[in-house]
Amino acid sequence: MLDFAEWLQATSVSVTIQSVGWVIPFLQSVHILMIGVVFVSILMISLRILGRMLMDEPFGRVWSRFAPWMWSGLVVMTLTGVLLVLGEPVRELMSLSFWIKMALLAVGIASVVVFGRSLEPAALTAGYGPEFSTATKSVAIAEVVLWLAIIFLGRAIAYDVEVWGSLSPALRG
């Protein structure tokens, strides 16, 4: 992995990102803005499922209000994230937090896709709808916790050795 990261670091795309001082903080700032958009969209949908918010709106309207923001935010977040990896491949790819984050991200995105598909077109227009099942409510809570963990791990990439100690790939070199 280190060989690959070092090869990536020497590519011209990576060198360009590294050599312009403002690019990385700019990408990180946009990445954080998008975390706000995506996380709060997921939180709003989850709180609606839990019956804690937006109860005067049918669930379908809440979903179609926030889902496009969530998906657009995820696209921008992925783009800035990929550029950040290209810019600092060794720092990212040699970090345990990064890999756990990627695994959780796969789970998070897959779960949202599955949930979106499971919504019957009828459910989207059916007014205020029945109360969600305990299982769906548990998934909503798990989803929020999952995305908080993803945010945590994202910030922890910068502190891999401090957070993971000898487990950090950075120490194994």
């Binding site: 903080p25 401090e162 993971w164």
Partner: protein, 191 residues
């Protein structure tokens, strides 16, 4: 006692010392800071966009804002506490840092923008509560708010790239969440 010596005594405080000395404090506090910022920005954005006449226009402005206000303030308090903790660790460095000063200025502007909106514009809310977009004063408050909070986030990130570190991470660091260790070692071996 001038401001600079107050800042020095903050850095010398037990809290500052603890933040610098603890291996895990800084990453944990920073991560919580990012979570809180995400909540503050995301929830404020919903209210600001409502003022500008974007989504959730079917709902009255006061309904949208009242529902989110508690969440925004709770997250802001968490962001302020974690931000203060980060400040104590390197108070003098932050105090001299230009992006940090601009960030504080931007937070002040956000407060002024909010105060003007709450004290003046909201007085007539009964007349425009259901309008989307809100009247000019409301649209301006919403637009300013979005620009200011984006600036706060950018400036916050810029602090990290300009301040430099004036303390060393202790050497004898290792993994100490014993109960997770076995599982994570397994995961690590798999990677």
């Amino acid at each position: 006692m001038d401001l600079a010596s107050i800042v020095e005594s903050i850095e010398a405080s037990g809290l500052g010392e603890w933040m610098r000395g603890s291996v895990k404090a800084m990453p944990v506090v920073e991560a919580i800071h990012v979570m809180a910022i995400a909540l503050v920005f995301g929830t404020i954005l919903i209210v600001d966009l409502r003022l500008l006449g974007f989504p959730s226009t079917r709902r009255a402005f006061t309904r949208v804002s009242a529902e989110l206000l508690g969440l925004t303030w709770a997250a802001f308090v968490v962001a302020a506490i974690t931000g203060t903790l980060m400040f104590t660790a390197n108070a003098t460095t932050y105090f001299d840092n230009t992006p940090f000063r601009f960030k504080m200025l931007a937070l002040l502007l956000a407060g002024v923008n909010m105060a003007v909106f709450e004290l003046v514009t909201v007085r007539t809310v009964a007349q425009w509560d259901r309008d989307a977009p809100a009247p000019l004063a409301g649209r301006m408050a919403g637009a300013f708010s979005i620009v200011i909070w984006i600036s706060v986030i950018f400036l916050g990130r810029w602090i990290g790239f300009t301040k430099g570190y004036d303390f060393e991470i202790p050497e004898d660091i290792d993994f100490d969440f014993g109960f997770l260790e076995t599982g994570l070692r397994f995961l690590h071996a798999a990677l």
